[in-house]
Structures are given as C-alpha cells and as structure tokens.
Symmetry: C2
Subunit: 137 residues, 2 copies
C-alpha cells in the first residue's frame, strides 16, 4: 500500500507538501525533528510543516517521540500502528555524536516489576550511544 493511498484513507488531502514530507520519512528508519525537515525543505512554511506533522500523527501515519536532549522527532509508522501509543512499541536509539534517532522495531523490551500504587499504561525505551556511522569514524 503506497503512502499516497494511506493519506487519502485517513481523510487527508494529498498535497505536494505532504507528499514531500511523507516520502522523506518513508525513505529511512530515522526520526526527524521539525528543524531538520525545515532545513531539508527550506521553501516550506514553518507552520505548515508543524501542521502536517500533527495531522500525520493524528492520522496514525507518523509517531512522535522526544529524544534524549528533549528534541521532538517524528518517524513513519511501519507495520500499521493500531492505537495511539504506537510510538512506544519499539525502542529508539539516539546517537550521541550526530544526534540522529533511529527506530529499532525489532528490539524486544522485557517487562518491568513496578512498585504498587502506579498504574502502568506504557513505556518508552531510549537507548543512546554511537550509531554505525559515528562508531566507525
């Protein structure tokens, strides 16, 4: 199923700006910040970009995740995220050097034993270190 049809299925219109963004996100397993996308597509309006990311997130096409440094990032949801907590079902890796963030869909997170009193609804695992590129250098 192509992204174009995915957008339409969510009741969103297919516009050049939306295609640009979703194609970029679909091209990698990385989570992009607003400012990275702004730099990448400098002719695009800041506000439009914020709204596109929000619309995609609301539609479940994209998940939002805050990185180690507090930067909000967006990545394409692979394998149809069912509910609104789709961002938390996989681990994210943050490179200390290039600051890129990668979605690691295949890493399994074991259950935690929680103290009483807390009602757990989900969790986020954020790993940091050096990515392949930066580790080689």
């Amino acid at each position: 199923m192509d992204v174009l049809q995915q957008i339409r299925d969510k009741g969103l219109k297919v516009t050049p700006a939306r295609l640009t963004i979703i194609n970029e996100l679909a091209g990698s397993h990385m989570a992009y910040s607003h400012s990275e996308l702004e730099t990448l597509f400098s002719k695009m309006d800041r506000v439009t970009l914020y709204r596109i990311l929000k619309d995609f997130e609301d539609a479940g096409l994209v998940h939002k995740i805050v990185d180690v440094q507090g930067v909000t990032r967006y990545a394409l949801c692979k394998h149809s995220c069912p509910d609104e907590h789709h961002a938390d079902e996989h681990v994210h890796f943050n490179c200390n050097s290039c600051h890129k963030m990668f979605c690691l869909e295949k890493v399994h997170v074991p259950e935690l034993k929680m103290p009483g009193g807390f009602k757990v609804m989900g969790l986020q695992t954020l790993i940091y270190g050096l990515c392949k590129n930066c580790n080689a250098a």
Copy 2:
C-alpha cells in the same frame, strides 16, 4: 550529610535561592520542571533559576531528565550519583493525568539485545500511566 554541606563540597556558594531549590527537591522523589519551580517560588528570577539548576546538575547534585511530553525536569540525586550518566540509572514514571514525574530508584531494568552496528552507552526508561493519587481519583 546535609544538603548545605553537599553544596559547599562542590565548590558552590550557599545562597538563599540555592537553599530554597535544593530543599524543595530534597523534600520529594519528584522531578520538577523549571516552570513548576518558577510558580512555586515566584519571586525568584527566571534566569537565576535556570542557572541554579544547571550548576546543581554540573555538580552532580541534581539530574536532568526529559519527560514524555518533552518537558525538561530536575530531581535530586539520591545515593551519590557517581558519573555524568546518573539520570539513567533509574526508571522515571510520568503521570498522564497530573503530569508529575517520579524517580523510581528501585526498579530494575533488564539488559536489551541490540542489533549490530550500534555502540550502546546507556539507556533511559520512561514509564507512563497514573500515579497513586490520580489512580485513586
């Protein structure tokens, strides 16, 4: 060992503002945001507060952690954090309702199996749900 002496030992001067902040942090196992502290101590200068938190963090008295929503928070380090990654050695719990963040020092985080290519240097586990108070209500 009291906080006053801890501050001095790090080569920092003991000022009224610093005492105010560290006493507040010492009084709970919660991680406070800058804006929460600003509201709590409204006569304190915004910039001074930022600098106090930074100084405490650099001194290892306090650790900084970004919550689920991207809000930067600060909490007192219990049991002498040795290195600069002290924030990551325990789990943090974020309440979806009151948005408070709690340090859970006693929850054990199991190792993860990572795919090749990544050099892991640490990880953060962020659990969200309802805290005791909000769950009861």
